[in-house]
Symmetry: C2
Subunit: 211 residues, 2 copies
């Protein structure tokens, strides 16, 4: 078994992957092949999970009625968010925050809050590590998608209980996020929220403390 | 601006990175250079965050007394976990679940639960997306570390309130995880919990539903 050598050229390419991963809301409608989806899921399966519990549950949403129901939930919650904006209301109104009407692949992601797998290891004092494991699987899928030229958008402006009901999954499952996937209309290294003037990145040094 | 082409050889190398990323508990004690740490943090800063809020707060823990205090919390909680094991108690007792006594770099990660940055976008119905953003920054750091030959271990067998107190950070900050970093004693593509017979990975197909 040969340990791979991740050399500086790979490190640079990996950095480019991080830099060009975007939250995509503008999708082309051409499909993603099932063989590519299989690859993306195989990559996501390599994500870390607490106690090797692999608590992620991926619900592929193909039913147009369920997609429409999720979009209705989004529209209602986003209208509410808009109403609460105050002085930024006009700027908020211009933002496109989802691509549910067009994305060819859509996935609702849940975490099992009490999986047998893993035998409880590592989550006794921090049960939220189960959801965190699902988040890392999403993030792995996201990076793998970008490495295949595919964009992903994470929709969080949703009522988690209602999405769970729309998906008809076990009541105890914890909704983590709704993902839209498809080929992006354009690629850009700058986040759309930054291009639209909503917010900008800050130096990482501001986020690091010493103790 | 040239859009990078992530070709099949890169996709394969990225897959190898995912495959060889491990949760490390056995560290060598040689230091990680500050220039490498700066690179790892720069990569982590590229992680997605809800509303571009970048709510992650990284506390580098250098003080031996604080490290010892975290280890004490771990030892107490792990003793409690051991006591609750039932028939797997002997197997649990053999597992090494942290490297706090040896890892040259240690980081306590928090999420700000109400950052000004991002102006609240995307988190009204799901405030947990702030912690999820910090989780994706941790996961980015983890992958970047592995790309530099460095191992990371995420310790979650801790009381989150006590860790926050040890770190003397704002009371409202949400503890996400305690990270140990250093060069690993060995590299392996198989998770340590699988090598030790605690748990094994399952086919991804078992985690995917259709709706």
């Amino acid at each position: 078994m040969i340990v791979p050598d991740f050399d500086p050229p790979f490190q640079d390419n990996f950095r480019a992957l991080l830099r060009w991963r975007r939250d995509i809301r503008h999708f082309r409608t051409d499909p993603i092949s099932e063989s590519v989806m299989t690859q993306l899921f195989a990559d996501a399966a390599m994500a870390p999970s607490v106690g090797l519990s692999e608590p992620w549950r991926f619900v592929r949403v193909d039913d147009p009625a369920r997609r429409a129901a999720v979009r209705e939930i989004f529209l209602r919650e986003n209208t509410q968010a808009l109403a609460e904006q105050g002085e930024r209301v006009a700027q908020y109104a211009k933002l496109k925050l989802e691509g549910i009407d067009r994305a060819p692949v859509q996935i609702a992601v849940f975490a099992d809050p009490d999986p047998d797998q893993g035998h409880g290891l590592g989550r006794r004092t921090m049960p939220e590590t189960l959801a965190y494991s699902a988040v890392m699987a999403i993030h792995t899928l996201w990076l793998s998608a970008r490495a295949h030229g595919i964009g992903l958008g994470w929709v969080s402006i949703l009522d988690p209980v209602e999405v769970r009901q729309v998906m008809d999954v076990p009541e105890e499952w914890n909704f983590v996020g709704y993902l839209c996937l498809g080929y992006p209309v354009k690629d850009d290294p700058v986040p759309e929220l930054e291009r639209e003037g909503w917010e900008h990145r800050r130096p990482m040094a501001e986020k690091i403390l010493r103790r």
